[in-house]
């Protein structure tokens, strides 16, 4: 199974400059685990010490924020596209 994940600029150092990577996973948690396996250190960056996604990071599955779905237990399907995006200022 392969899911496309958009990598934000501050994390592209970990992915060797790639802005789009393909990993596998059945939900957000296992996807992050697979990202960490392929790109060591990834999980520490986007999750805090308790393993929760950091509060300044937004994860979207297709166009929906996972906080409107089931958070890190949200299921992911093969054709889904995941984006990891840092919070940005108002305007």
């Amino acid at each position: 199974m392969s899911i496309k994940v958009r990598i934000p600029q501050p994390l592209q150092k970990l992915t060797g400059g790639a802005e789009l990577v393909e990993v596998s996973g059945s939900d957000v948690k296992s996807l992050i685990a697979d990202l960490d396996k392929n790109f060591p250190g990834f999980k520490d960056r986007i999750c805090d010490e308790t393993g929760k996604v950091r509060r300044f990071i937004n994860i979207y599955i297709n166009d929906e924020d996972i906080r409107f779905l089931e958070g890190d237990t949200t299921k992911i399907n093969d054709s889904d596209e995941v984006s990891i995006i840092p919070a940005i200022a108002g305007g």
């Binding site: 960056r45 805090d48 995006i85 305007g91």
Partner: protein
């Protein structure tokens, strides 16, 4: 002369050079400018400020640029009005309105942040500026970029008020109307910002940009005679403004310009988009994003980037938070117009209505000083009040027709 030390993560404290960076690579916390306050203390005095031109750059040492300011040279130093008529209606003793509905040149507080962002973007070598906007920022970036001769790319949600669209297009920027709400525009822009080497004022220039809001607070303190009010009500969208007003008061105190800051800070939002207010009222540690549904489009940010800091300021200051319905927002706009002659946009309707509510609840006492933040102009959001302010009497150009209409 430069007074900037560098950038620092607001979460983990890691330090970064003063470049076009905006999030901590390690924890994704936002970066904030740090200053050499010892050096500022040596060069800046109250008297020096008072003798400078009446614009936001009179506080230049406390703003994050290295050379001389180049943009927004007439922005800021808007009136702080003693609002006695409104005070009478609300039954309070000492009430002021800080009126950025007349901030030059685009009639909102966003001229302040853009003045700093563009001055800094040029120092960093950028030739193109960009922003994601709910309208006021779009107006300000387009205007200031036109003056500076910079190319601009501006991204707005498709349902924006006509006044804000025209108020942007008049400056001939590259205007992109995105089919989606502001949070979706933001998301798109953060992807574009990663790919194109532009100065996105509220993304990669954000640490510098956001500091411009401090001038709104500096002015309040100076105009009150070098003191801060007992209570200050500020609108919250992304949550940055209230945070920076608080920072401005703290900085003035640190420099010895004002006594200890005892101001209570109040966050104001529309009921249809109140993630910060709800978290404060529910005493929750988590700010839950919402999908905005309100006429206050300039505050319609469902996923506020600075929400946690805004919440922190409210708690630290001993203030509180409140939200109001769309009808209350319209009443707030009308109340400010009928008492003080100021026509504010929906965000101003929110702060006026929230102030009224907090006074009625007894949260804000009646015998202490209060400042209401008015951050934008009503001519930009006419749709919000169009059908709620009566109609003109239509008459023929004859005395008879007039006298039939008006029973004096």
């Amino acid at each position: 002369m430069s007074y900037i030390k560098g950038l620092k993560c607001r979460e983990c404290g890691r330090e970064y050079p003063k470049e076009a960076l905006y999030v901590c690579e390690y924890c994704f916390g936002s970066l904030e400018v740090t200053y050499d306050y010892e050096k500022i203390r040596k060069h800046l005095t109250k008297e020096k400020i008072e003798n400078r031109k009446k614009n936001m750059w009179r506080y230049r040492e406390l703003l994050p640029i290295e050379g001389e300011p180049t943009d927004g040279l007439n922005s800021g130093f808007t009136p702080l009005i003693k609002a006695d008529n409104l005070a009478k209606v609300l039954g309070v003793k000492e009430l002021y309105v800080k009126d950025d509905s007349v901030c030059p040149p685009t009639l909102s507080f966003k001229d302040r942040v853009v003045a700093v962002a563009l001055s800094r973007a040029k120092e960093l070598g950028f030739k193109t500026v960009a922003c994601a906007s709910t309208g006021n920022l779009a107006n300000a970036v387009a205007s200031h970029a036109a003056v500076a001769g910079l190319e601009s790319y501006i991204f707005i949600p498709a349902d924006l008020e006509l006044g804000k669209v025209i108020g942007t297009l008049i400056y001939a920027p590259n205007l992109m109307m995105v089919e989606g709400n502001y949070d979706e525009v933001n998301r798109l822009c953060s992807e574009i910002a990663g790919k194109y080497k532009w100065a996105f004022v509220n993304i990669n220039i954000r640490p510098y940009y956001a500091e411009g809001s401090k001038t709104y607070g500096f002015e309040i303190a100076e105009q009150l005679g070098w003191r801060t009010p007992d209570h200050l009500v500020a609108p919250c969208a992304g949550g940055s403004l209230i945070t920076k007003i608080w920072k401005s008061f703290k900085e003035f105190h640190k420099l010895g310009f004002i006594p200890e800051v005892k101001t209570k800070m109040y966050a104001a939002q529309a009921e249809g988009c109140a993630p910060i207010v709800n978290a404060i009222k529910e005493r929750s540690e988590i700010i839950k994003p919402v999908k905005p549904r309100t006429i206050a489009k300039s505050l319609a940010i469902g996923n506020p980037a600075d929400g946690y800091y805004a919440m922190g300021v409210v708690k630290e200051s001993g203030g509180w938070a409140e939200s109001v319905t769309d009808d209350e927002i319209v009443e707030g706009i009308k109340l400010l117009a009928s008492t003080q002659g100021i026509f504010t946009e929906t965000a101003g309707g929110v702060t006026v209505a929230v102030t009224k509510k907090l006074i009625e609840q007894g949260v804000i006492p009646k015998n202490e000083s209060i400042v209401i933040s008015i951050t934008g102009n009503g001519l930009k959001t006419q749709e919000a009040v169009q059908n709620k302010i009566g109609k003109p009497a239509k008459i023929k150009p004859t005395l008879k027709s007039f006298e039939e209409e008006v029973k004096v």
